[in-house]
Amino acid sequence: MANKIKLGHVHMSGCTGCLVSVADNYLGFIKILDDYADLVYSLTLADVRHIPEMDVALVEGSVCIQDHESVEEIKETRKKSKVVVALGSCASYGNITRFCRGGQHNQPQHESFLPIGNLIDVDVYIPGCPPSPELIRNVAVMAYMLLQGNADQKALADKYLKPLMALAKRGTTACFCDLMNDVINQGLCMGCGTCAASCPVRAITHEFGKPQGQRDLCIKCGSCYGACPRSFFNFDVIPEFETISEIIAGALK
């Protein structure tokens, strides 16, 4: 197929769980590579040594600022990519790497890890630990429609990606506290339960219908806030769930 976009996976300090989630789209991933995107860079899946020009860079992991090569690579990624996507919570918010204190052989001085947004401008966040295969799939299809689609597809992709772009603008830190500060304290929580479902470490329960977070368990992944229907709810996209789900499924058939 002509007009495939150039897709890359850039591996910073992450556990490869995000890449596994990409691959967990199984035939959907193969279909994306067949029809919509060439995987031009991926340490694990493509034999390319240096960061090439990319339309969309999926960056996994945070950046160790004591590792010169990582710092150079993330800057190069920004310079060579049209769209930089923070794939997963480490790239978006630091996540579990926030708790690193160094002291690991053979580079014990590697102790400070920052989400990529502290070093470069990021266009889109896909939070999650790991990010769900379905969200990665949706963003990949939308990115293709944005860059290569017709006018309608571009308009849809634009609307769809907007809240994930807003998350990227919002900041580089995350915590259960976001739900307290920006949802509960703001009088917006209605006890639907979504946050508890999204929490990868089961740190959120509901007491009398309201979320309670065990903050010592929180790994700072930002899933609860991103998933909450009262953090963002775009009436020009979500109510069209039936049509949009069909479009995405159709693209991957």
Binding site: G128, M190, G191, G193, A196, S198, C221, S231
Partner: protein, 291 residues
């Protein structure tokens, strides 16, 4: 397909009642949700459903995954306080191993399901496993302690003696096991409403596959909106098999006119609240989820 600014998109709207006598015994109105989920379970359309069962205290709901008719029947009736249904959305696919999940809930919970489908943030395996989402009409919800205040302090009844509660004809009704019936004007209950409900812009669960509630239909019947292909498939099969009796909504009183009136009241009032939040402080706005 009809697209109404207040009632959302739907293909059909009818007044309906379950033909299952056992379900109707303890149903809130027409027994629609329980009957639909039992039917979907027996037909293999779902493997189980997230419903609001009994919690630790009287009238406190607790979401659970029902996997049999018996389980589903335990969740009959409206509880009028918060049940975080969506907390089990991923759990249903994991610990319970469901491939086809049924979900019941109020308007905001239908919104949550659809957001989880289109923006599955840490919602692995959820988007493609939602097999049937049935939403309830909802004007507002109450925190548990609010409901306790309404029933015990205002209506003067012990919660554990209450057989049924309902909101209808402009009043909050409390029925006890021994036959007391207490009504409260809604102006008494308004201040106890959950604040988060006041920014909600949906009254009849516009994002359910099917949505239902008492408003618009005669006593013992429910108004039912069929909204999606999934909803239409299940509903038409169920009706063809005699699971429900139905009447055209145009032929019942008070009908769609009242549904529209109440939807407009809720949504217009809450739109105003969302607007007022923009100038809540001095040059300081409160968060707006809709921008």
């Amino acid at each position: 397909m009809i697209a109404d600014p207040y009632l959302g998109k739907y293909t059909t709207c009818v007044s309906a009642r379950s033909t299952d006598k056992e379900i109707l015994q303890k149903a809130q109105d027409g027994g629609i949700v329980t009957t639909l989920m039992v039917y979907a379970l027996e037909q293999g359309i779902i493997d189980g459903a997230i419903v609001a069962g009994k919690g630790d205290r009287p009238w406190q709901p607790r979401p659970f995954v029902a996997m049999s008719r018996e389980d589903l029947l335990k969740a009959r009736g409206t509880k009028y306080n918060i049940s975080p249904q969506i907390s089990l959305l991923k759990e249903a696919t994991r610990s319970f191993g469901l491939d086809k999940v049924g979900v019941t809930g109020v308007c905001c919970q239908m919104q949550a399901v659809r957001k989880a489908q289109l923006y599955p943030i840490n919602m692995r395996d959820v988007p493609d496993k939602i097999a049937l989402a049935v939403g309830l009409f909802c004007m507002e919800n109450f925190p548990y302690k609010s409901m306790q205040t309404i029933v015990e302090d205002h209506a003067g009844q012990s919660l554990s003696s209450v057989k049924k509660m309902e909101i209808g004809k402009g009043k909050f009704w409390v029925y006890t096991e021994r036959g007391n019936v207490v009504t409260l004007p809604l102006k008494v209950t308004h201040k106890y409403e959950q604040p988060g409900c006041h920014v909600c812009l949906d009254y009849v669960s516009n994002l359910g596959d099917i949505s239902t509630g008492s408003v618009g239909s005669p006593d013992g019947w429910s108004t039912v909106f069929i909204r999606t292909k999934v909803g239409n498939d299940v509903w038409s099969k169920a009706v063809a098999e005699g699971i429900f009796e139905t009447k055209p909504i145009e032929e019942v009183k008070p009908g769609l006119e009242l549904v529209t009136k109440l939807a407009k009241e809720k949504i217009d009032k809450n739109r105003k609240t969302v607007e007022e939040r923009k100038t809540f402080g001095i040059n300081k706005a409160l968060q707006n989820p809709y921008t």
